[in-house]
Structures are given as structure tokens and as C-alpha cells.
């Protein structure tokens, strides 16, 4: 498997002194569903925001699809897509118009953008909502539209930052059907951060655990579970909790 995302010695310190990333090294394979896990404030969103070129790094390097995102500028935006924690919708526009507009922003012709919008409306089951203003949609449908917008330009790498927050079980299931289908058919690499560990357990083969800006584990999800509970068949959530608690206890003992 070739490498799609390569991160080396990435550092980020905020002006308030928070050391968000402390020399992060990571590799994500092409076509992989990769989960970045960690407690709140561990540095997950900072890492994603650097990778998508929203904020700058202090030092280190990273490459996505063989390109340096800081130098490739707009090219990288066609290669990647982001579905972030917060909905990014224009409340005055209809779902259909937003999808078509998004396609046009990414260089699709009018017809292509309309076709792609219709396709995504079907995939995310938004047919009955497509002419409603996004501000009038229910929370779950806003979330579906938000995720559909990220997929308009058929990205090769998809960053999902807590993507299913606010979705009901049916919407979550539909969402993951679309994502896994894209992953299998089009070899799309998925970089996922989530607090729903059952989702990571079900869909991700590789993972990394970040705590206080440091990578504590990187490798296969199955290996992580075996490492924490060698003799039991545990879920990722159980293994994660055991591991994080043991790290916390070790830290407390060291402080004592």
C-alpha cells in the first residue's frame, strides 16, 4: 500500500502557550480508513486544520498525495475535502443550490454540477428537502447536507472531523454507507477523528492515539486491541478506555 499522507515531526504552539502538537509523526496509506483518536483537547483538530491548510504549522513537514499542501496552494483543495465538526451552510440557500454552487466552485460545468448534486441528494436521501433553505432543515439533514457538500468534487482524501455528531442512527448508517462505498470503489483515503469509537472500530483498519499533542500509538486497530487486552476479545472503546486510564494513572504516579 502506498503512502497517501506522511507527517514528520509536526509542531504547533498557539500564542497562548498551548503546545498542541509535539513532534507528530504519522503515515496513512492510500485508500485506508484511518482513525485519529484522543480525548478532547489532545490536538486532533489542530492536526486536521494544519493538514487541510487552514492554519500554519511551526515546524516539521507533511505531504498529501505527493504534494506539499503549503506550496501546492489551490491544487491541494481539489485533492482533499473536509467535513468538519460544525455545519458550514449558507442558511439562505436551498440544499440543491448549495450543492450546485459547490460544484461550480470546484470547476464543474453547470450540467456536471447539477448531475453531481442530484446524485448526492439521492445518496444522502435529501430528495424531499432539496428545495428547502438549509437554515430550515432539521439538525440531522443539515449534517447530511454538510457532508454531501464535502463530496461534490470527488476528493481523493477525505478529512472527517467528528462527522456524525448530531445525526440520528439512520443518518449515521446512510452516511457510512456512502463513505465506505467511496472508499472501496474509488480508493478514497479517509482520515477520521471521532469520539464515537464504535464507528472507528467498525470502519477503520488503522489508527493513531494522540494525547497532549503526542502520538502514543500508531498502527492497526486490531493490534491496538491485542496490545491492551492480549487475552480478551474487546471492543476498541474498551481498549481505548483502559489504555487512556493507564496512561493517566502512570502520569499521576510520576507526579506523586
Amino acid at each position: 500500500m502506498s503512502t497517501e499522507i506522511s507527517i514528520s515531526k509536526l509542531e504547533k504552539k498557539y500564542p497562548d502557550g498551548t503546545h498542541a502538537l509535539k513532534g507528530v509523526d504519522l503515515m496513512v496509506g492510500k485508500g485506508q480508513v484511518f482513525a485519529l483518536l484522543g480525548p478532547n483537547g489532545a490536538g486532533k483538530s489542530t492536526l486536521v486544520n494544519i493538514l487541510i491548510n487552514l492554519i500554519g504549522k511551526d515546524s516539521g513537514s507533511y505531504v498529501i498525495g505527493g504534494q506539499d499542501p503549503e506550496k501546492s496552494g489551490r491544487l491541494i483543495q481539489r485533492y482533499i475535502a473536509v467535513a468538519s465538526q460544525d455545519n458550514e451552510l449558507d442558511p439562505g440557500e436551498s440544499a440543491l443550490n448549495m450543492l450546485v454552487f459547490q460544484g461550480r466552485l470546484f470547476g464543474l460545468s453547470k450540467n456536471e454540477a447539477k448531475e453531481r448534486a442530484d446524485e448526492l441528494i439521492g445518496l444522502f436521501q435529501l430528495e424531499s428537502e432539496m428545495n428547502k433553505k438549509s437554515g430550515d432543515l432539521s439538525g440531522g439533514n443539515k449534517r447530511r447536507l454538510h457532508c454531501a457538500l464535502a463530496l461534490v468534487h470527488r476528493p481523493k482524501v477525505l478529512f472527517l472531523d467528528e462527522p456524525t455528531v448530531g445525526m440520528d442512527p439512520l443518518a449515521r448508517s446512510t452516511f457510512w454507507e456512502v463513505i465506505t462505498s467511496m472508499n472501496r470503489k474509488d480508493d478514497v483515503t479517509v482520515f477520521l477523528t471521532t469520539q464515537y469509537l464504535d464507528e472507528a472500530d467498525k470502519h477503520a483498519l488503522a489508527m493513531a492515539l494522540i494525547i497532549d499533542g503526542e502520538i502514543k500509538y500508531a498502527g492497526a486497530v486490531s493490534d491496538f486491541k491485542k496490545m491492551v487486552h492480549p487475552s480478551e476479545n474487546c471492543t476498541l472503546e474498551e481498549s481505548y478506555l483502559t489504555y487512556v486510564k493507564s496512561l493517566s494513572n502512570t502520569k499521576n504516579n510520576e507526579q506523586l
Partner: protein
Amino acid sequence: MNAANSILIRRGILKLVKQPAAPLMGFGMSLFFLLVYNAGIGGVGSMDAFGDGGYISFIFPITIISLAMGSSSGAGQALNADLQSGYFRRLFLSPVPKWVLVVAPMIADTFSSVFFTLVLLIIGAISGVSFQFGLVSVLGILLLSLLWSLTLCGFSAGIMLRTGNYKNAELVTNSIFILLFLSTTFLPRELITSKWLLAVSWGNPVTYILEANRYLLGGTSPAWYLYLALAIFGLTAIISVSYALLSARRTRIR
């Protein structure tokens, strides 16, 4: 200009058409000024200082200036709405140049300002405002209106982007509003008796755009006001747009 850039500009204009509160407020305020001032003190227009155009031609430039003031907050408002909804982040992560995200609402704002200036000029012509150079006067006034509008909406958009707070962007309009009254707004220089007001008016850039418009309308001011106004507001428009573009890089995105 590529398709993505032009659809962003078109989006800005359509937003103004769908939510015309800001430009309509500016337009309404301008008409109000014209009606009230002309009704209240229009009688002084028979004095020689007001020339053949009378008081309505003299007071008319203030309506044009206040029009742009009312509508120039539209770019800041549009950016504010996109920032608040999170949609700006989506646009920011699209493959369009970042400067277009800022310039698009400014172009929409300026377009709206120039359009409503044209409507005001038609109303002015019907109401008896004189145009010393005919069509050239109209084009000159539109050019001044464009530069003035760009100056205001550039600063408004830039402050909005840097602070992420629309209230701060309104400071531009509020501070300019004071300048409107520290000038030769209601009477020609020779009829103003207060020495401090005369002194302040020389340092007030609003004076030059007012007098430039008066040169083009009733011809009551000398031509050099026009040249100076074009130089001043050409420069402020460049500074303002540059400030807005630089602010795009420092945008606070949630």
C-alpha cells in the same frame, strides 16, 4: 476571470437583491436628506453663491455621499453572515483565490452603490438638478461614487475580517457620518461664519468629494476640486481595497 470567481461575484449581487435592506436604507436616507434639506432651507438657493442650479443642485452631492455610506456596510454584513454561519470556512477551503472571497461582496456593494446613484441622478434630473457637462457630469459623479464606495466598503470588510465582529466594521460608517457635518455640507464656504468649521473642512476629505460633485453639477466650485477628489479617493480606494485583501489572510475562522 474564471467561472468560480464570477459565480462568487454573482452570489454577492444576488444576496443583495434578495436582502436589499442595506442599499435600500442608504437610498431612503439619501432621498430623505434631499427632501428635508431642500424643503427646509431651499429658499436660500436664490443667493448668488448657489449659482444657477439653486440649492437643490448644491445639496444634491450630500445625498450621493450618504447613499454610499448606507449601502457600503453590505460587504461587511455579507462577510459577517458567512463567518457566523461557518460558510466562509467552506468557501475558504475551496480552490478559489482567497482575495476573491473578499472582493466579491465588495464588488456587489459597489455595483449596488453605483446603481442607486444612477437612480438618484435620474430623480435629481427630474427634480431640477443641473448637470453642467451633461453626460460627462453623470459619468464623473458615478466615478466619484465608485471610488467613495470602494473606500468605505474596503475598510468595512477589512475590519470585519480582522476582528470577526460586525460592530467594529460599523465604526467606519459612524466615523464618516461625523465628517459629513464638518464640511461645506449645507452652505458654500463664503457663507460659513465659523472659523473653526472652515479650518476643519480643509482637512476633511469629504469636502473635496462634495465640491467635486458641485463642480460637475451646478458649477459652483472650481475644477481643481475634481482633480484633487479623484486623486484623494483614488488613493483611499487603493489603500482600502489593499487593506481588505491583506485582511483576507488574517481572517479569523472559527
